[in-house]
Symmetry: C2
Subunit: 416 residues, 2 copies
Amino acid sequence: MAQKFQTLPGFRDFFPEDCAARNYIFDVWRRVARRYGFVEYEGPILEPTELYRRKSGDEIVNQLFCFEDKGERDVSMRPELTPTLARMAAARQRDFRKPLRWFAIGQFFRYEKHQKGRGREFYQFNCDILGEDSRLADAELVALAIDLMRELGFTDQDFRIRISDRNAWVEFAQKNSVAEEDITTFLQIIDKMERTAEEKTASQLEAIGLSLPQIREFLESGADASTDLQGILDDLAARGFASYLEVDLSIVRGLAYYTGPVFEIFDIGKGMRAVAGGGRYDQLLNLIGGVDLPACGFAMGDMVITDLVRETPGPDKLLTEAIEADRAIEVFVIVADPGKQAEAAGIIQRLREAGKRVHFSFGEAKVGKQFQAAEQAGAKHAVIVGSEFPEVSVKNLAARSEVKATPDTILEALDS
Amino acid sequence: MAQKFQTLPGFRDFFPEDCAARNYIFDVWRRVARRYGFVEYEGPILEPTELYRRKSGDEIVNQLFCFEDKGERDVSMRPELTPTLARMAAARQRDFRKPLRWFAIGQFFRYEKHQKGRGREFYQFNCDILGEDSRLADAELVALAIDLMRELGFTDQDFRIRISDRNAWVEFAQKNSVAEEDITTFLQIIDKMERTAEEKTASQLEAIGLSLPQIREFLESGADASTDLQGILDDLAARGFASYLEVDLSIVRGLAYYTGPVFEIFDIGKGMRAVAGGGRYDQLLNLIGGVDLPACGFAMGDMVITDLVRETPGPDKLLTEAIEADRAIEVFVIVADPGKQAEAAGIIQRLREAGKRVHFSFGEAKVGKQFQAAEQAGAKHAVIVGSEFPEVSVKNLAARSEVKATPDTILEALDS
């Protein structure tokens, strides 16, 4: 007996229904990004491993699908897009007018524990503005993120954007005489604070000359902590987005390269899952590509958002409709007289040339069987080609109505 | 100075213009396949290496990007989709009504010599009918392939489908008493004949009891060599596709798994490049997944077809228009009074919610600079928000005409 092959753990097969769901999410990502005037790009799935050693967090580097290729290069399947974007933008930034508004939809790979909402492979929407230091650019990205959620059918009852500013923390540290070399450590303490025992946080802070009450007080300051944050909030309020926003200074984001405002989308149901996140990273393009371009961006993965869509009635309905539309057939051509196979082929071709989605039965099936196949395909119409050709019947399968037509009038008959 | 990172040899960066070209090809693939009633699926990019050892030709196995993952599995970046399709279809074939009409658009990886029209990474359109042994299914695939080319703007002056039948050769071999165990060797001799010295072919044939003149005579027989081929040609003629077709029995196709009609699209310009190819493979699903499902399919890569589109004036024009459309901005919102930033933000949001593609300048640029940015973005219209707000100006940048509007009437003003 033949060996049964299996999908690797953490990797997905996309059967047609899954693929339709994936494409629906992709379409929303693409549609909203384009409305914001962004253009799509894409990089390679395989990159030199060194590209990730340079900037990604340790966690990411430890999870690389890395290997030596047949040319003895140390290569990795990409775990994220930002280093590739930095490489690409640096290589050709002179060719483009700033700011660049670029987005990408692609697949990424991390060898991590396989669990719900997290695979070893996932798709991600990446969206970045390069070459712009106005805080309006940060606001534009937050607005785009909100509109992605709204386009999927979510409301302000379903999600929030938590927004913060790393710079506010850096200024706080400087004002409180934290040594320059301790600032990265300090940001890591804040990042992990929510998941760390209080005493541990307190002693870590003490080691760099700070106290927990000081931090708590600053956390309370909200938007007052940063004029940048205030500017972003004002712009978003002008767009009508105030109800989606929440200042939460405890958000610092793990990755080392953020330099200013940062934000996360999370669901406000029981899950409190992070759905997307990003922020400003003004030094990364210099680090990777040697060009000085301020930048901000965010990413949204496909797995958590798809789970969330399926769990939320409004968004789930839109998804279900998209899946239905993906498989719906417009016309099923039925050959009622085996001698008219060639005439039917001509009609099938004609309908497809008019953009119709057309099915028919291969081989010589009985007419009843062909009608059954038409129903099973969910066809709206059947066109019956029989011995009366060039007269054909056009049947509306749902309405159970029927009209006669000729090859020249079928399209009108279908649209009536 | 920062290290300059480079793309791996044979891998591509898709800058926005390249990505727009890629997406245009994808859109054509998807549009035509859907018109034929096919549904999209996708498999993992990484698979157990054993999946390819089982059925792919030696050439493909030698070109695998294979490695051991962190879980000590022998894995490969996929070089082709058919084994994955066979695995997926076998795993869930009971859930689907036959025949399946499935297509996929994805990326593949082969470590081979990097040259024009061939990279180490490429996209491929795969299109298969599973669970159908009627030759009308083979014809349907050939028709779909022809319509892909036509949708791209090619005519019968640009390409041909060469069609053949492996079974005709198997029957020929059997009729001429070639031993059963020599038939695979025989097919390989025919496959390589065009690229092999005549004497060598003659002596190879002699070794299995055949002669070169016998083969030549059979090659001449064309469609008469096989009733299957004749059926396919008749059906395609009924669809109006006769002028695209050419019987060429020298086509056998290299891969071991084909079992019936096979075909290739090639360009008839100087290149004579193969653009796509496929055929019937009735045993593969059994071999991979242990289920008995007849199947046929074909694949088209993105690299040769994109080169061909760019070299051919009609198709190139369509591509160029698609690239233009990808970057075209509909409305550029200009803030003529810095005090009206918030009002402008509201209008931007309103236009985007109506589906318009909208740009604006971040930060406080002079009005002249903003107009310049609007022109550079190729915007059709500018909406100017100034001190007269709620009155705004809507300017058609091409026609240099201008009308006044309010936030409530901007959409009408844009469409007029």
